[in-house]
C-alpha cells in the first residue's frame, strides 16, 4: 500500500512529533520500522484484510437513512461501523496493532479506554491472536460503561482502574504510558486513537482509513457534499476523512460541547483549545495559561478527552476540514431521533455527529451527507436508563 505519511519526525505541518520519555524512543523507532515494513508486506496486508473480512465482518454497509433524511430534508448516508465486530470502528486499529505486537514478539498488550470500546476491541484482538491484555480505564468511566468492563473481563483482559486526575480517558492514557515505560521490552501499547507520539497517529490512521476507502467504493463514483464524524481523539473521523481529502466533499469533525462551550465544561480541543503538548504529541488541547492540562467534560466517555490527534490539528489549521461541536443535550436528542426513525441505537459519540446535522438541517437542505456511525449504543443503554426521570 502506498504510504502518505507525516514527515520523518512524525510532523503533520507543525503538529505531531515525539514528546515521549527517552526510555520509549527505541520502542517507538522499532514500532515505526515494524509498521512500515508490515504495511509494505503483502502477507501482512493480506492477513489484515482477511481478518477484517472474516472476523470483523467488513466491509460494513453504507446505509441510506431514508426516514431520517425525510425528517430533516437532508439526504443522509450512514457508514455502519456500529455493525463491525464488537460494535465500533475501534476493532480496525486493534486488529492491526495486535498483529504487529505478535510480529514484534511482544507477548503482552496494554490499552487505555474511555467508552470501553477500544478496550473491548483490544481484548478481543488479543484473545483472537492469543496475547495477554491489560486495559487501563478511569474509575468514572468504569462506572458509566459497566457493560464493556464485563465484556473485557470475559475476554480474559484485566481492567486496571485509574483514580488519578478526573479518572477519565486522559488519565487512562497517562497510566498506560507509565506502564509502557516500565514494560516496554515485552509489551506493546495499543493506543486507541490517532493520538500519542509518532508513529501512533500515522499508524492508527492507516489502520482506520479502510472506513473511507470502503465508502468510496460503495458510493460508486458519486460524491457526498459533506462528510461528518465525531471527534474524540479523532480516529473514526480521520478514517473516513482521509481517503476523501482533496476530492471535494466538505469534511466536518464534531467535538463534544458538553454543557456548552461557554460553560468551560466540554471536550472541544480544536474549537476552544490552544496548541501545546499532550501525551507525546503537539496538538490542540485544553490548557490554562501555565500549560497545565484542563479536564474535559462530555456525556460520552469516548469524547471526554482534552486533546485531539495532531493530523486533525493540521487539518483545522490548513482548512482541509472544519471542526464544530454539539452539546450533551443535543447528542441525547439526536440519539433518540436516529433510534426512532431508523431503528439504530447509536453510541453517544456518533450521536454528536448526527446532532450537528440536526442543528444545521436548514443550511444542509438538499445536500447529501455521509456520516460515520462509529459505534452502537448498547454500552450507553444503562447510563441512559439511569438518567430517565
Amino acid at each position: 500500500m502506498k504510504l502518505k505519511r507525516p514527515d520523518e519526525s512524525g510532523r503533520f505541518g507543525e503538529f505531531g512529533g515525539r514528546f515521549a520519555p527517552e526510555t520509549l524512543i527505541p520502542a517507538l523507532d522499532q514500532l515505526a520500522a515494524a509498521f512500515e515494513k508490515a504495511w509494505d508486506d503483502e502477507h501482512f496486508v493480506d492477513e489484515y484484510r482477511r481478518v477484517l473480512r472474516d472476523f470483523v465482518g467488513r466491509p460494513t454497509p453504507l446505509h441510506e437513512a431514508t426516514r431520517l433524511s425525510e425528517r430533516l430534508g437532508v439526504r443522509i448516508l450512514l457508514k455502519r461501523e456500529d455493525l463491525a465486530h464488537t460494535g465500533a470502528h475501534k476493532i480496525n486499529n486493534a486488529v492491526g496493532q495486535v498483529m504487529l505486537a505478535r510480529d514484534m514478539g511482544k507477548p503482552r498488550v496494554i490499552a487505555e479506554t474511555g467508552a470501553g470500546q477500544h478496550g473491548v476491541a483490544t481484548a478481543t484482538a488479543a484473545a483472537y491472536f492469543g496475547l495477554e491484555c491489560d486495559v487501563y480505564m478511569g474509575e468514572v468511566d468504569i462506572e458509566r460503561q459497566a457493560l464493556n468492563v464485563h465484556r473485557m473481563g470475559m475476554l480474559g483482559a484485566e481492567v486496571i482502574p485509574v483514580t488519578s486526575g478526573a479518572a477519565t480517558l486522559k488519565d487512562a492514557v497517562s497510566e498506560a504510558m507509565r506502564d509502557w515505560v516500565r514494560t516496554v521490552e515485552t509489551t506493546h501499547y495499543v493506543i486507541g486513537s490517532v493520538v500519542g507520539p509518532h508513529p501512533f497517529p500515522w499508524m492508527v490512521r492507516e489502520f482506520q482509513k479502510v472506513i473511507g476507502e470502503e465508502a468510496l467504493v460503495q458510493l460508486g463514483g458519486t460524491m457526498p457534499d459533506d462528510i461528518v464524524a465525531c471527534v474524540g481523539g479523532g480516529s473514526n473521523a480521520i478514517g473516513i476523512f482521509y481517503p476523501f481529502a482533496g476530492l471535494g466533499p466538505r469534511l466536518i469533525g464534531v467535538e463534544a460541547a458538553g454543557l456548552g462551550i461557554a460553560s468551560g465544561r466540554h471536550g472541544a480541543s480544536i474549537g476552544a483549545g490552544t496548541p501545546g503538548i499532550l501525551h507525546g504529541t503537539k496538538t490542540y488541547l485544553l490548557q490554562d495559561a501555565e500549560g497545565q492540562v484542563l479536564e474535559a467534560h462530555s456525556i460520552s466517555a469516548g469524547l471526554d478527552y482534552p486533546g485531539v490527534g495532531p493530523e486533525h490539528a493540521f487539518f483545522a489549521e490548513t482548512g482541509i476540514a472544519r471542526y464544530e461541536s454539539a452539546t450533551d443535550e443535543e447528542a441525547l436528542a439526536a440519539l433518540e431521533l436516529l433510534t426512532r426513525t431508523e431503528g439504530i441505537i447509536p453510541a453517544l459519540e456518533p450521536a454528536h455527529a448526527i446532532a450537528w446535522i440536526v442543528r444545521e438541517a436548514e443550511a444542509l437542505a438538499g445536500r447529501t451527507v455521509l456520516v460515520n456511525l462509529s459505534g452502537r449504543g448498547d454500552k450507553d443503554v444503562e447510563q441512559l436508563a439511569r438518567m430517565e426521570p
Binding site: 520519555p21 526510555t23 515505560v181 503538548i277 499532550l278 500549560g291
Partner: protein, 266 residues
C-alpha cells in the same frame, strides 16, 4: 555563565573521586513559604546540588509519589513564576547549583525563550525536561544555552550504543542515566540495569553522568559510587514530605534522609 557552578561541581567531584548527591524536590513543598527552607536543610545535610521540580498536571515519567507531590504543589498555587522564585531563593541561600526540572508543555506554553530568560534570572544552572527526547530537544536547548544555562539529556537502558553516542554528541551539560526501566518511584531492589547502563555510557563519552530513577535507599546509592558523577533521589524524599504530619516534621525527615544518603556516598 549560570552553568559554571554545576560545571565546577563536576570538576571537583572528578578530582576528588566522589559521587555527588542531587536530591529532587518539587517546588512549593511542603508549602510555598517553607519550600526554600526544605532545600536549605538538604544542603546542610550534604546535598551537592538540587533538581527543583516545576509541577505539571500530567507527569508521564512520574510514579504515584511524585504525581501526588505535583498535585499538592499545584493545589498550593505553584506556578512557573513562583517555582522559579523558590529556585532563586535556594541558590541565594545555599550557594549550590540548581537545575529546573519540568515537562515540555509548560515551557512551550510560556515560550522557550521566555522560560530560558526566567531560569537565568533565577540563577538556575540548567534544565531537565522529562518528556523531551533527543529529537525534540533543540527547540528548548537552543534558547537555554543562549542564556548561559546547560541542557540535560536522558539516556535509557533501552538505547543502542549508537543512540548513546548521539545523545552525548548533542552537547548536554550532563547525561541523566535512567537507572531503571519505569517511571520514578521507590524500588525495593537495586536495578540490574543501572551499573550496566553507567558502564555503557562511560565507554562512549566523557560527559558527566548522573544516575536517577528508582534510587531511593542509602544502599542503592552506595552501589553506584564510582559508576557515576552523581545520583538523583526524588520519590523517597517527596514521600517523606507527603507522609509528615506537619511542615517542621517534613523538613526534619527529609534532612535526615539526605544525611543518610550523603553518608552512604562518602
Amino acid at each position: 555563565m549560570n552553568r559554571d557552578l554545576l560545571d565546577q561541581l563536576f570538576a571537583e567531584v572528578r578530582s576528588s573521586h566522589r559521587t555527588a548527591l542531587l536530591p529532587f524536590m518539587t517546588a512549593g513543598l511542603p508549602s510555598l513559604s517553607t519550600s526554600a527552607d526544605l532545600f536549605v536543610a538538604m544542603a546542610e545535610a550534604g546535598a551537592d546540588a538540587f533538581e527543583v521540580g516545576i509541577p505539571y498536571s500530567d507527569p508521564m515519567m512520574d510514579g504515584p509519589t511524585i504525581q501526588a507531590g505535583n498535585q499538592l504543589a499545584l493545589t498550593g498555587g505553584v506556578t512557573v513564576e513562583s517555582g522559579l522564585a523558590v529556585v532563586a531563593e535556594v541558590v541565594a541561600r545555599t550557594g549550590k547549583p540548581a537545575l529546573v526540572m519540568t515537562y515540555a508543555n509548560p515551557i512551550f506554553r510560556i515560550g522557550p525563550a521566555h522560560f530560558a530568560r526566567q531560569c537565568r534570572e533565577a540563577g538556575a544552572c540548567g534544565v531537565i525536561v522529562a518528556d523531551l527526547p533527543l529529537e525534540e530537544a533543540a527547540a528548548i536547548q537552543e534558547p537555554i544555552e543562549r542564556h548561559g544555562l546547560g541542557m540535560v539529556l536522558f539516556a535509557a537502558p533501552t538505547a543502542t550504543d549508537a543512540r548513546l553516542e548521539a545523545i552525548a554528541g548533542a552537547g548536554p551539560m550532563f547525561i541523566y542515566g535512567i537507572a531503571d526501566l519505569g517511571v520514578t518511584g521507590e524500588r525495593r531492589r537495586s536495578s540490574s540495569h543501572a551499573r550496566e547502563l553507567a558502564a555503557r555510557i562511560r565507554s562512549v563519552t566523557d560527559v558527566p553522568l548522573v544516575m536517577g530513577v528508582g534510587i531511593s535507599t542509602p544502599d542503592q546509592a552506595r552501589s553506584l559510587t564510582g559508576e557515576a558523577d552523581g545520583i538523583i533521589v526524588g520519590s523517597a524524599l517527596v514521600r517523606r514530605v507527603l507522609e509528615a504530619p506537619d511542615e517542621p516534621t517534613a523538613i526534619t525527615e527529609v534532612r535526615s534522609a539526605v544525611a543518610d544518603l550523603a553518608g552512604a556516598l562518602r
